[in-house]
Amino acid sequence: MFTYYIKLAFKSLKKTPFSTSLMILAIACGIGISMTALTLNHVRSADPIPEKSGQLFSLQLQASGKHSTWQTSDNVPLQVTYQDATNIMRTLPEYKHTPMFKTGYAVRSSDPKFAPLIHSARVTNRHFFSMFNITFLYGSVWSEKVDENPANLVVISEELNQKLFGGGDNTGEKIYLDKEAFRIVGIINPWAPSPNYYDLNNGVFVDPEHVFIPFSLSAITELNSWGNNNGWKEEAIHTYQAKLTSENLWLQYWFELPNKEAYEHVKQHLTGYVAQQKKLGRFERDDARSVLRNVKEWLAYNNVVGDDSNVLVGVSFLFLSVCLVNTIGLLLAKFLRSAPNVGVRRALGASKEQVFSQHLVEVGVLGLLGGLLGLVFAQVGLILLKTHFDGYDVLATMDLTMLLSAPIIAVVATVLAGIYPAWRVCTTLPSIYLKTQ
């Protein structure tokens, strides 16, 4: 029966080429535009580490001045001070957690002819790699000892390994970061979280670092931060030492807390820490507190999706609804025109249900055709985005979910729109048309 309905549907659609193509075009435009907007939104709101996004927590401390204001919804600064980071780092050895920041170097191999490459580097401790599910192609991370006694050891990405050496296991080799020699201990597999959630200061869809060095080096080699440095206190910071003891906020801090107990335990510990700092007179505010946010909460808090993206999705779906209203109108016109036919069919014994489902099948076919054409439109839209806007390569790509959802949304929306016209036509009384015939 279903295939017969489909056959009927195509026959009927062919009979009215103008309104059929109009309806397909309307649906396709609506789907094309809303899928383009939805793809951008979907990629922006993707979970970068679904296997443990509920277990990774960023730390924020409300440790700023009495009257400081931040551009965050709860007025808590996004980063922490070096003092707080090191204080907290030394406690809670039973959990994985790490402070970090971005610095950068001119990276060279031992080959004097090699033109140096500018690369940002992540300064962090050894837990970073297992916390963020980074795997090693060769070697491994530096030992626990190095997190206390700094050594010039470095982990690099496979991409940088290719550039420096043309690939291969180069652990043990020397590279130069500025003028200092570092020994490679590990080379990581390609890793590019999107959005780049662990440090959102310099953009959301930026390449991760290709160089990783021990956090313990920062104090002795005076590593400059290449990220955001925010001060709220009037302090004259002329030396690196002064920066380390200042209230300048420039580090990110992440915890991995595998379960509720761990979370509660750490939360309690942090509350104690805040109380202690308050007593010492460092934290001045009455609402001094610690805030832990897991990855999804962190992305939402930082408004990674962006207002523009949400507005575009809203407007494009309103647009889709106009296209559907349009389609309802055209369907109604088309179906009512075929009412005499339906009258004959009803008189010959077709039930209301059969007439109704036959018309819905026709609508479904229409929706599918519109959805497929809409998918083509959306691809064109995304290609235009990629070619006209830098940095949209990753963003403007449909994954399987989006590819499948386009025709599904189209069919569902069109069938919903077609219910009323189909119902109207199946309630026609056969007798009226038989009489005039």
Binding site: S19, G231, H238, V315, S316, N326, K334, D390
Partner: protein, 401 residues
């Protein structure tokens, strides 16, 4: 007036299609007016006068990796040598580039005493003594920096003595007096204002402090520097292609990259705004087109359905014009209701956008403009099928079916 009531009655007999057209007109008005307004807002933002000759300024990024390089000396030499390239007007090392979204800001006060002071943060541009002209700025009042104003920070505690600030910063810090000659304070360091430039945008184009900027004649031995070169318009491409090699020949122990004009940089700073306007523009265009086709399609259907009635009216003496005006009146009634509903929906939508996305209050002129264009669209898309209807032969009335 007489014809309205039968038209209205006829309309009431096919309520659903009338409601659908009304709905379509209303939604179209709401979407188009809001989208057009957002486009207008964004274009305004993108077209603001930045006070910078963007196409004439080339910026580059340099990173000194070898500590043996005397950075401060090298920066001075760079500027001096780059000026010998034909077409180069002025060049200077600088810590940040306007419109780049990255830079440094200083907290400033208008008096030493914290209590009762006006304070603000401002974009700080540190460079050689000719840094003001290297960004294409003119000191409109006061004087430009001189070589003897320069401060070289090597130990970390040398402090700036003088500054040139933008008019916007001057207005904010010294609202009731002449800022020129005054002293402003950064932390507790007094810095004398020796010059004012009329208008220059700073690094962060999406923040309200974008017009508040200051210049400081100070260089330090940091590894990371930018370089700003202002070039005669017709020589920009040539200088752009040779600048990197030229600088590397002067000193090879550094990396030089991200060389481009400020105009190119500006383009990427406003990328999201461009994306928004382009997408909304496509939506508006397609939407109007779809609405027109939809209304035309519905009218064609009505015409076809009423062929017999139209023929009968013609046979009874109605002129072609009568038939056209019948359909025009019908669509006028529908449009008026649709427009009224559209105006309400437009404001509801705008209210929603305002409360969730901080967009501005919709100006009525945008709704009016949208209504005007919708009226044109309706007239055109009804006129064509109505004309076709008027050509229906009166003889059709005599035929059955």
């Amino acid at each position: 007036m007489l014809v309205i009531s039968p038209i209205f009655n006829a309309m009431m007999r096919s309520k659903s299609s009338v409601i659908l057209i009304i709905l379509q007109i209303a939604l179209t008005i709401a979407i188009v007016s809001n989208a057009a307004y957002i486009i207008h807002e964004r274009i305004n933002v993108m077209q603001r006068d930045t006070g910078i000759p963007e196409a004439q300024i080339i910026k580059t990024h340099m990173y000194f990796y070898d500590e043996d390089v005397d950075i401060i000396k090298q920066l001075a030499l760079d500027a001096q040598q780059v000026k010998t390239i034909p077409g180069v007007i002025e060049a200077s090392a600088i810590n940040a580039i306007p419109l780049s979204d990255s830079g440094s800001s200083w907290m400033l006060r208008n008096q030493l005493e914290n209590n009762g002071a006006i304070s603000t943060s401002a974009g700080a541009f540190l460079g050689d003594y000719n840094v003001v002209s290297a960004l294409g700025q003119k000191v409109s009042r006061g004087r430009n920096f001189r070589p003897d104003d320069m401060v070289y920070r090597t130990k970390g505690d040398e402090v700036p003595q003088v500054t040139i600030i933008t008019q916007a910063l001057a207005d904010l810090l010294f609202p009731s007096q002449e800022a020129l000659g005054q002293t402003l304070y950064s932390l507790d360091i007094p810095i004398k204002i020796i010059g004012i430039v009329d208008r220059m945008y700073g690094p962060w184009v999406h923040f309200n402090m974008v017009e508040r900027n200051m210049f400081i004649p100070m260089l330090s031995d940091r590894k990371n520097y930018r370089f700003s070169v202002i070039v005669e318009e017709d020589k920009v491409d040539r200088v752009l292609s040779e600048l990197n090699d030229f600088l590397l020949r002067l000193e090879g122990r550094r990396v030089i990259n991200h060389t481009m004009t400020v105009a190119q940089l500006k383009d990427s700073s406003y990328q999201n705004d461009r994306l928004m306007t382009n997408m909304l523009f496509v939506i508006i265009t397609v939407l109007v087109f779809i609405t027109a086709l939809g209304i035309a399609g519905m009218t064609i259907f009505n015409v076809n359905r009423r062929q017999k009635q139209i023929g009968t009216r013609r046979a009874l003496g109605a002129s072609k014009g009568d038939i056209i005006s019948y359909f025009m009146t019908e669509s006028a009634i529908i449009s008026v209701i649709g427009i009224a509903l559209g105006v309400i929906t437009a404001f509801v939508l705008n209210n929603y956008l305002m409360s969730y996305f901080n967009s501005a209050a919709l100006e009525f002129s945008y709704i009016a403009g949208t209504i005007a264009s919708i009226v044109v669209v309706v007239i055109v898309s009804v006129l064509v099928p109505a004309r076709k209807a008027s050509l229906i032969s009166p003889a059709i009335a005599t035929r059955s079916v």
